[in-house]
Symmetry: C2
Subunit: 218 residues, 2 copies
DNA sequence: GTCTATAGCCCGATAGAC
DNA sequence: GTCTATCGGGCTATAGAC
């Protein structure tokens, strides 16, 4: 409403700065929330990391909760955007392989998103209560329905669809969430897994899961 | 040294109380650390939950770090104790199946341990630096060696052993770590997964992984 | 819109009476 | 060994000058 009164010039300029600052804050917040969880993260550190004064964070996002909600919302949007649904009429082998590849790319390119979500769930998911409301059961049924179709058509063995979905999630997210343990186990000097290692992981998962479901023969 | 001067009666009594209180504190700390991570947990809440005054926690454990180290150490001891190594001379199918069952029982019976460790790793594992020192690479090589033996003997397909181990870890721990998401997806009213659901999950994982490695035929 | 200054609270840790 | 009382510091959030 108020914005309508202001000139276009001001709108653009102000909007641009706002968007830039909000992005800076969100980027800094993702690092802090991924490192310390919701309660452990501090607005002070987020402010220092973003290069903005502490009070500006309260100006752009009403509160710590508001900032965290924005970060979580970004993560859910990213996943909805990137992960397309499996096509019941498609070839199971191709569909599953493409899904595993897409999830592994997400783990490689957006590890912070995966970790923030993971820590939130492990901590009890108190901030995702709404997200996990009744609609979630139906959404999940949509995820498993594809496999029931394929099983009914004899395209794969009668694997429990829900637990297959959990396996797809857990095995792929592991490479984002537990990367510091993986690095330690493989003796990588620091931080991120090499691209080649990620590719090996992807191919290994595709092999075991597809063959394990009887979709590909040995 | 000082203890030797005191009477046996005092020793026993004091030792018993100390052990009881330490157990109470550790139990309360596990709940708080699993819910808020290291930085987010507060000694105050741990004290209230344990029914002891705040200062006693500093008396029994020197500091917050000391208490957290004790909790983490308990978790690592539990896993060393329960998870026996795979026998290279044993039957791969039986050995792998037994391992998956053992890890799923741990996820079911000690979900807090799994979550505390998981949150610590996801947060960067700063408090496990020593644990992940050079010895860890060798320990991990010991884990993967069994599979290399089996592959050389033609008992299983040439699966990358390291990524197979990661799959075993991720798929089983998921049921402890992400239980609140699993409950939401399956429409369980609250908290813990039913025993029957856990059994279904275990059998599904055994089926997919063993068949996926070419250890069991379809 | 931006930023300084500060209120009010909870934190980890300790001193010291019992 | 136990527990109260308290210190110093960092926290979220806001008031108000610019």
């Amino acid at each position: 409403m108020l914005i309508h009164v202001e000139s276009h010039k001001q709108d653009k300029s102000v909007g641009r700065i706002r968007q830039q600052n909000e992005s800076k804050i969100i980027a800094a917040a993702e690092i802090e929330f991924a490192r310390h969880g919701y309660k452990g993260a501090s607005i002070q550190n987020i402010a220092e990391r973003s290069g903005l004064p502490k009070a500006n964070i309260h100006y752009y996002f009403r509160s710590k909760q508001g900032l965290y909600a924005a970060v979580l919302s970004n993560i859910l949007d990213l996943w909805d955007e990137v992960l397309s649904e499996l096509d019941p009429d498609g070839d199971p082998a191709q569909e599953l392989e493409a899904y595993i590849r897409a999830k592994m790319v997400l783990s490689r390119d957006y590890p912070l998103a995966s970790r923030i979500f993971g820590i939130e769930i492990m901590s009890g998911g108190a901030h995702l209560k709404e997200y996990f409301q009744d609609g979630y059961v139906d959404w999940f049924k949509g995820r498993t329905a594809v496999f029931e179709t394929w099983i009914a058509q004899g395209k794969m063995q009668p694997i429990d669809p829900a637990h297959l979905v959990f396996l797809l999630w857990s095995s792929t997210q592991h490479y984002a969430d537990f990367s510091c343990q993986i690095d330690a186990a493989l003796g990588k000097p620091q931080a991120m897994l090499e691209r080649a290692e990620f590719d090996t992981a992807t191919e290994t998962l595709i092999h075991i899961i597809l063959q394990g479901c009887g979709i590909r023969q040995p």
